[in-house]
Symmetry: D2
């Protein structure tokens, strides 16, 4: 994984998704070099870059132009622009305009999560996967509901990571905010 501190950050743009959560998302997504990935709500680009290293093609979408800018800077910094299409705009609409894909990653949804899941599902190839990372209580429930409503078997893991900081007196655990990863296979 790319270390957290190796990402360029921009004020008011969320992310990057922490290293350990990116790792778990990569595992759960079963991404391979044959996969086309959509990263909806790319933010700082944390997951975009990890998918870029592993997938065939990545569409990274964000309605915030600053998020697109900082994701581009991070792709450039890590020489990963080659297979990434950056698209500024509204995810539910853009999903209609791009070709079918294997993985739909939703890290940010601006309150449109059910619509993104529903529209994304229609463009998901056979054996495709939908992934949501949720930090809000409400988003967790919306993601589970939207995937269940599509008849999918939903996998939910709630992840709490504390990082050890070694100080003179010993090893302190510093908690990271919990993140829930909700995923399903077509």
């Amino acid at each position: 994984m790319i270390p957290d501190q190796d990402f360029i950050k921009k004020q008011d743009i969320p992310g990057p998704t922490k290293e350990e959560v990116r790792c778990l998302v990569m595992c759960k997504s079963q991404v391979s070099s044959k996969d086309v990935v959509v990263d909806a709500g790319c933010g700082t680009g944390g997951l975009t870059l990890e998918f870029a290293r592993r997938a065939k093609k990545v569409y990274a979408i964000d309605k915030n132009p600053d998020a697109i800018k900082v994701t581009r800077l991070n792709l450039q910094k890590h020489h990963l622009e080659g297979n990434v299409h950056l698209i500024e705009g509204n995810a539910p609409q853009i999903l209609n305009e791009i070709p079918d894909f294997d993985i739909l990653m939703i890290g940010g949804s601006s309150g449109e999560l059910p619509s993104i899941i529903e529209k994304g599902y229609q463009k998901l190839k056979d054996n495709g996967r939908i992934m949501v990372t949720a930090i809000l209580l409400e988003t967790r429930v919306e993601a589970v509901k939207a995937m269940s409503d599509l008849g999918l078997v939903v996998d939910v893991i709630d992840v709490s990571i504390s990082k050890g900081r070694i100080i003179e007196r010993g090893t302190m655990l510093e908690a990271r905010n919990p993140v829930t990863i909700i995923s399903a296979h077509r």
Copy 2:
């Protein structure tokens, strides 16, 4: 419990122990109005004040004069000075000089945890309790070992609390650093 934000704080003085952890310490200590309590490493005074509200008498010890000062300010602010003896000094030595007690609370130990537990145990009345709150990996192990070496049955709970913050888009969980409460009854 006294709300976290109702404590006066002082730079470089740890604490106050968070509300939820104070609550669990009070329950586990089974403190009553007949109990004499020693609070070793009182820091900001978070636990000192809670014990002061419930116990007969509290000896609050800290080797840092600034900790004694800020604990005094907090006791005054909450009108709880009446039954608290503030003592600046080294806990292992002071334990020798004070009368027997019912509860030994160790929130800070400056690397002398085994010695404080051992000396404190000798002055612990029948049915007395020893409580340690640990934020370091090393302190957890030292506390379990020192209490087990005395032949005590040790209770260990590792506590991770996240607080919900309600923002426009929903409820975010913000993690607090984990704390381990190690306790034993004589």
Copy 3:
């Protein structure tokens, strides 16, 4: 707190709420000997008994007759029947029939959480408190929403406790399922 193992249990009846969660609920509820408490969905009676020890009067409601039975057995075992009214029935309806109260505790809601909160709020005395313990993702969100809709300031804590088990080789942490405590003051 009453130790977890000191409760009589009955198959298919949830609870008792674990010791540490009961402790936190008691703290957050600020229960005193002047308070009238309603415990909706009392299950095994874990919280009923703790409130019975601290409050003036407790109405314990459950629609499952077996829950009422096992709560009665636990009250008898701990000699706490004196100030508890056990009521078999549907909480939203029973809330209409009992006098006003200071604390509404909702541990089980059979899918009627919003209705229980709304009706309970109307009978809540000044400075009254509403408490929900939630183990489902969906219940957390419902509780936050129903309380926010009433204009209340909502307190949310997500509690993960691991208990240490001391075995020959060392101290193992055994995780308890996370519980969220949602509460608000009138």
Copy 4:
């Protein structure tokens, strides 16, 4: 990752390491197809199999013949025996007898963790990595200390995962016991 339920299990043999922890260990170890890996205390073989899929060669060691047997069965079941050497015996001794390696994974240490780390470090190639998964409080501290004593920069993450179980009434979170991953690079 191989699903947890796809491993053959044997009574009294610990493991397999849960899917999410295996995922994090793979990420932290930065294993590649050029790496020679030692898996000390292989247990059920959970990590052995994941390394076998990614590394050049794996030495899996366990002093318990039943652990060797069940790891072999799991390798066979998943057709991964090709690059794995199974060795029944004492890790500190066997480390002396095998060629240098890139990754030392210690999942079980039978109380000999400091010695395994110390001996393993001597055989670690440039840019090699040492990984420990710890479920005991004591092992966490031993691992941090042994790696720090070698002058290494130690990475500590404490991982708490809850799995969602979707039942009729909603989504319940079921906690897994916390695991700490301690790692360092040469």
